[in-house]
């Protein structure tokens, strides 16, 4: 019975290595929105085992996101630090990342950090004409919860956020755009 026993423990070790990798990814913050981890953000598509090595498959958020390379480097570092190396980070473009993939914990952390999470889902019917509008629908203020807010700028400090202002508590805040 030695052989099956050995296989069972090998399978357990495999599972725990991948589990350990996922756990390590929980501690890797997004460099531009450090309140959430890369895992919360939903950009980790897969963690794979190749012999001694681990492969982490990431999906970039925006085509021109300047954080993409920093994220890959910090993911590699975190897994090496956890003793899981050698680590390879690869990118997968399709399906394209969407804010719908941000976890429930991630949404809560964004809100607690003062960033209004994306409202509703990002899915826009393909081919639907772009709405003509000056004022976007109201986004609730992450500080006081008021729906009386206005958009100051469609683009914010990073590609993924817009700048809003609360008309009730008068505080400006960032809004994570649904995409």
């Amino acid at each position: 019975m030695a052989e099956p026993h050995f296989l069972e423990s090998a399978a357990a070790a495999l599972a725990s290595r991948i589990e350990a990798a996922w756990a390590a990814l929980d501690a890797v913050p997004d460099p531009e929105v450090p309140a959430v981890s890369v895992r919360d953000l939903g950009i980790v598509r897969d963690v794979l085992e190749h012999g001694d090595g681990i492969e982490v498959v990431l999906t970039p958020t925006y085509s021109g996101c300047p954080a993409t390379e920093v994220i890959a480097a910090s993911v590699r570092q975190a897994l090496v630090d956890a003793g899981l190396g050698p680590v390879k980070v690869t990118h997968r473009l399709a399906p394209a990342w969407t804010t719908d993939w941000i976890s429930a914990e991630g949404l809560a952390r964004l809100l607690a950090y003062g960033i209004a999470p994306p409202s509703g889902t990002a899915a826009v019917a393909p081919g639907a004409p772009a709405a003509i509008r000056i004022r976007p629908p109201g986004v609730a203020c992450p500080r006081c919860g008021s729906a009386q807010t206005e958009r100051l700028s469609a683009f914010g400090s990073t590609a993924c956020k817009a700048l809003h202002r609360c008309l009730a508590c008068r505080e400006p805040f960032e809004y994570f755009k649904p995409i």
Partner: protein, 291 residues
């Protein structure tokens, strides 16, 4: 002349090439192996790249801070799209050229962007060429609508990489179109002055839209291979979206003209050389230099 310490040569000898050094192989332009699929992808890549370069001229000069940030954010998206497409064009070409070589070491005749995107955008002084903010707003709007229409169809490309790039880019183009559309409304249906300036910008830009829909052999080859749509296919959907916003902004659609620009054939306007001179000068002087 010694390069700044932050610029390190990628060349194996370790000795940085000097500007003007005839032995600096990295300074010379690459020889492009042009095939219809490569040209098809380069047309889109170069349109994104040169449009990004023009939008980036607004960095630090936006009429208001929010718009400065918006214009450069859009430039960043377009640059990211261009990088993905240039890398892909390099793979299709099969000569080992990467995104940097394709951006910085091609000559003017090997760029295939729409002529519209190379037109001066921001007027740097009272006597310099270029229009006003209305030209930026309008060009952004016409192009975002065109790119969105194109990305939507490219997402179904038989080329998986191209489909993946398009699937991501279409979401970004949607935001760009919304933002630029808001400005078209605001200026077109604004004051007499803003409406007159937007009308003038529309008259300047419209003749260049002919090229956006001019089908040729490259389009036919791409369509036959399932790579992507011919440009003529985009016209109906584009016009529907553009006409709706122009109507809401109380602007009449200009009449079409026979003028046909030829940037997609590699024959550019007088402005292209100046853009490349600025964009490529660092790599031409310090081959392989990087941050």
């Amino acid at each position: 002349m010694v390069p700044p310490s932050s610029l390190r040569s990628r060349h194996p000898e370790g000795a940085p090439h000097r500007p003007g050094d005839p032995s600096g192989a990295g300074t010379s332009s690459i020889a492009l192996q042009l095939t219809p699929p490569v040209q098809y992808v380069l047309r889109i890549a170069d349109t994104c790249l040169i449009h990004a370069q023009r939008l980036a001229e607004w960095c630090g000069h936006g009429p208001v801070l929010e718009e400065d940030i918006a214009l450069t954010n859009m430039a960043l998206d377009l640059l990211g799209q261009a990088r993905s497409l240039l890398s892909h064009a390099g793979r299709l070409e099969g000569q080992g050229h990467d995104e940097d070589q394709l951006a910085f070491l091609r000559d003017e005749r090997d760029f295939f962007n729409l002529t519209l995107v190379e037109q001066p955008m921001r007027r740097s002084s009272a006597h310099a060429p270029g229009g006003d903010f209305a030209d930026t707003v309008l060009r952004n709007f016409l192009l975002a609508a065109w790119l969105k229409t194109l990305w939507t169809r490219l997402a179904a490309s038989s080329d998986d990489d191209l489909a993946a790039i398009a699937g991501k880019a279409v979401k970004e183009a949607r935001y760009h179109q919304q933002h630029a559309g808001d400005w078209v409304l605001r200026l077109g249906d604004g004051t007499e002055e803003s409406a007159a300036r937007l009308r003038a910008a529309l008259d300047r830009a419209w003749p260049y839209t002919h090229e956006m829909f001019r089908r040729d052999a490259v389009d036919a080859a791409a369509e036959a291979a399932g790579l992507g749509p011919g440009r003529d296919v985009l016209r109906e959907a584009w016009l529907a979206e553009v006409a709706a916003v122009l109507a809401a902004a109380k602007l009449a659609r200009p009449a079409d003209t026979p003028f046909l620009s030829t940037g997609t054939l590699g024959r550019h306007s007088e402005h292209m050389g100046f853009i490349l001179a600025e964009m490529q000068s660092l790599q031409r002087q310090y081959p392989g230099g990087r941050w």
